[in-house]
């Protein structure tokens, strides 16, 4: 395997304001390979690739494309040189049609028919099918991701950078993506896969590069490393790495604890839905006749593809959505961790204390006792290891992981009897995800209060690692998934996701 280097960045330094984001970061990507760029949140992965894509200009360091030194003044130049990037938070204009999003950035006359034809051609060649006329905002998450890739391919991208592509996909979709990336690389294309999920990376990559705190700490062919070595390189602390490894091991035996619990399950019901229907404002039925009980001590895992009804199910259980029909039984306070943190969980411009107060804003009366709120904020910060957290600090100055830890900590306190979590580890690094899952797991025993937990994730591994039983949403219905004889067999879950029994 002596393929030449397609993209090489070396000795890159970059800072945001006073924060040094990258310091001597390097990566060498060979043509025709899938290259995983690994690191925890804040390690500088995205920054490094944004430099490669011309969105940022490095303070120091060089970029070589196919052996030639380049200096992009803008991403337009990078695109022209055959680089395409799919951002973690997609760069789609939701109010525009798919074909318009693909055409975005073109100059001169806009020939949407020709662009649509190109999309069809790409679809034929790659299997990435998107309806050109579809409104981007109406597409499912995986379709949006396909659209992003199509966008790059229509512009003849030879090098494709994907930022955390697996975070929003179901296992099947992720497998499909992996297959496709492999196919693309085999055809001579080059892929850089930014991720913090070691397994995801190892499953598909030929080579990998690990960044830690803005520096390249590991550079290797896939074949030459073990999962443990990568985790240690990423965390830089072998004890944390060890803890994570234990967590992963547990997740391989997902239903062991669940079976035990269910056999003797006598917890009192905390959350209950009785013949619940939800019809949205456009008249579409989102939940149809759902009856469900969740007892104290249970962790109900919820799986389902976009639009299958999981979103509504969680919100009805959390009391954030009133059913059109049927009755809901729930405690006065249900902790809720919504997926879209920056829009639904926190007010970015508010301080940590204000964001703590936010959780009770609807019910609060009279004056607010800020001193007590500050004290509680400090409690959450220390109890949940919110780095750089201070009561008066604006929450948007924290990293995503630390914001999420704060939100989880806040809801942990509120949801003494019930907690509903929606993709709570999305975009988090190993350590932060680990901490979040810990809280979810803490349903009973020991010194923590026993409660009912509802946990939804697009990562099946994650669901199986914490759930005591699993339900699948499909087309507005909710059905319990019976595990296979072999606990490691995922088939029942995969079938439930597509509505097969």
């Amino acid at each position: 395997m002596t393929r030449e280097a397609a993209l090489v960045l070396s000795g890159i330094r970059h800072r945001f304001g006073r924060t040094l984001a990258l310091d001597d970061a390097s990566i060498a990507v060979r043509r025709g390979t899938v290259h995983a760029l690994l690191g925890e949140n804040g390690a500088g992965k995205s920054t490094l690739m944004r430099i490669a894509f011309g969105m940022l200009r490095p303070e120091h360091g060089t970029i070589h494309l196919d052996g030639d030194a380049v200096a992009f003044a803008s991403s337009a130049e990078a695109i022209a040189q055959g680089i395409g990037m799919v951002h973690q938070h997609f760069s789609l204009v939701s109010t525009m049609r798919a074909v318009e999003n693909v055409a975005l950035g073109a100059r001169g006359r806009l020939d949407l028919a020709a662009t649509a034809a190109r999309m069809t051609a790409v679809a034929h060649a790659t299997g990435l099918t998107i309806d050109p006329a579809a409104m981007s905002g109406d597409l499912s998450v995986s379709a949006q991701q396909r659209l992003e890739i199509v966008k790059a391919l229509v512009r003849d991208a030879r090098i494709l950078i994907l930022d955390e592509p697996g975070a929003v996909l179901t296992p099947d979709e992720r497998a499909e993506l992996d297959r496709w990336l492999r196919h693309f690389a085999d055809g001579g294309g080059t892929v850089v896969l930014i991720t913090h999920k070691v397994r995801e990376a190892l499953a598909v990559a030929d080579d990998l590069t690990v960044l830690r705190r803005g520096r390249t700490v590991l550079h290797s062919a896939r074949a030459d490393v073990t999962e443990d070595a990568v985790i240690d390189a990423m965390t830089g602390e072998s004890d944390v790495g060890a803890a994570w490894r234990i967590a992963r091991t547990e997740s391989d035996r997902p239903t062991a604890g669940a079976a035990a619990l269910r056999s003797g399950a006598t917890g009192t019901p905390v959350l209950a839905l009785d013949h619940v229907h939800v019809v949205d404002e456009r008249g579409v039925t989102r939940l149809a006749d759902v009856t469900l009980t969740i007892a104290r001590g249970e962790v109900l895992g919820v799986i389902g593809v976009e639009g299958a009804g999981a979103r509504e199910l969680l919100r009805v259980l959390a009391g954030r959505l009133l059913p059109s029909q049927g009755t809901v039984t729930r405690p006065a306070h249900v902790g809720f961790i919504p997926e879209d943190r920056l829009h639904d969980a926190v007010v970015p411009t508010f301080s940590l204390t204000e964001n703590l107060a936010l959780a009770e804003a609807g019910a609060a009366r009279g004056t607010l006792d800020w001193r007590a709120l500050v004290a509680r904020t400090v409690d959450v910060i220390t109890a949940h290891d919110v780095r750089n957290g201070a009561p008066e600090r604006r929450i948007d100055t924290l990293s995503g992981g630390n914001q999420q830890k704060f939100v989880v900590g806040r809801e942990d306190r509120i949801g003494l009897d019930a907690l509903v979590a929606e993709n709570p580890t999305r975009g988090l690094d190993l350590r932060a995800a680990h901490a979040v899952l810990d809280i979810v797991r803490r349903t009973g025993g020991g010194d923590v209060p026993s409660r009912a937990v509802v946990f939804y994730s697009t990562d099946l591994d994650e669901v199986l690692s914490v759930a005591t039983r699993v339900v699948a949403c499909f087309n507005g219905t909710v059905r319990e998934v019976r595990p296979a004889e072999d606990p490691a067999d995922r088939t029942p879950y995969a079938r439930a996701l597509v509505g097969a029994s």
Binding site: F16, G17, R18, T19, A21, N41, G42, G44, K45, S46, T47, G319, R320, F336, P338, H343, D344, A345, V346, V347, P348, T349, F350, E354, A357, L358, A359, E360, A361, G362, A363, A364, R365, G366, T367, L368, W370, N388, R394, D396, T397, L398, S399, G400, N402
Partner: protein, 316 residues
């Protein structure tokens, strides 16, 4: 140089300039600035303070004229109540249009400003015209409807005190109460307020709209009760629009609105002096006001930039 000296003298050069010119002019701006800030804080773009002021003036005038010579305390209180009601009714139309039909308040409030001006123009030639029916204005209010002056021999009236108290109350309310916090949360992140806090966003916004209109209405009541003692057309030279700059310059902080309203009041009072004493045309005054506002904007913008750098996000 003479002109600038005149500007300063006219704004702060004498006790009269301060208490009878600057602060009197600052009063409507203070109250309207609070009305605008309250609405903006809730994410509600109420551009209609102008019309709400006019309708408040109508309400207060109607109260003053119909109560005649009742005891002053009663008349003044009735004017306050009627002014607030007039303003709230007017903002209520925009609120209703928003809730019932989804009409953006930015446009409906501008339209309502024009309509209010036409309505006042008709009222002073119709139902509220003085009894000889010659002049397009109401009768002069009886003495009991004249709001008390705050300082003997000066023109500064009760309206300013109400404005200052209201500013402090509003500030306290925003900072210390659950209701105020809810409004801030709705304005800063409506979805999070609803999802994380269970706040009823729509009804919070409606309430804010009504209260904002009521405060603007009080500004109208203060203008007729404290200054003109009769209802005229052309009562406001666009206070409602200036108040937006007043509120934004204060970064929607009620305490700072006291300062920025005085700043604008001083600019206008000083500008009048520039015309009188230095014979600088009225329009130059607008240039000065604009330049001062732009200057303040530029300075704060540069300061913000430095702040942003210092707080550089440690996440990607």
């Amino acid at each position: 140089m003479d002109a600038l000296a005149a500007l300063w003298d006219g704004a702060f050069g004498s006790a009269f300039a301060i208490w009878s010119a600057t602060l009197v002019r600052a009063t409507p701006l203070l109250l309207l600035g609070l009305a605008v800030a309250l609405a903006f804080r809730a994410g509600l773009l109420n551009i209609g303070a102008e019309g709400q002021l006019l309708m408040g003036a109508v309400g207060a005038s109607a109260a003053a004229l119909s109560l005649g010579t009742a005891p002053r305390a009663i008349v003044v209180l009735a004017m306050l109540a009627a002014g607030a009601t007039g303003g709230a009714l007017w903002s209520g139309i925009a609120a209703w249009l928003k809730r019932r039909f989804g009409v953006l308040e930015v446009i409906s409030t501008i339209m309502l400003n024009f309509i209010a001006a036409a309505l006042v123009s008709w009222l002073v030639r119709g139902p509220l015209q003085e009894p000889t029916r010659i002049y397009p204005q109401s009768s002069t209010f009886s003495a009991s409807a004249h709001w008390p002056f705050l300082i003997p021999g000066q023109r500064l009236h009760l309206g300013f005190a109400i404005g200052v108290v209201l500013a402090l109350v509003l500030w306290w309310w925003f900072e210390r109460t659950a209701g105020g916090f809810r409004v801030r949360a709705v304005g800063a992140g409506a979805r999070a307020a609803a999802s994380a806090g269970g706040v009823d966003v729509a009804s919070t916004v409606m309430r804010v709209f009504l209260v904002s209109g009521a405060i603007a209405g009080i500004a109208g009541a203060a203008e007729v009760g404290g200054v003109t003692w009769a209802l005229y057309e052309g009562l406001s030279p666009g206070y409602g629009y200036t108040a937006i700059a007043v509120a934004l310059l204060a970064r929607l902080d009620p305490r700072w609105i006291i300062a920025t309203s005085i700043f604008f009041g001083a600019l206008e009072a000083g500008a009048a002096a520039m015309q009188r004493d230095a014979q600088v045309p009225a329009v130059v005054v607008q240039i000065v006001v604009a330049l001062v506002v732009l200057g303040v904007l530029a300075v704060t913008a540069l300061r913000d930039k430095q702040m942003a750098q210092r707080l550089a996000v440690d996440a990607e």
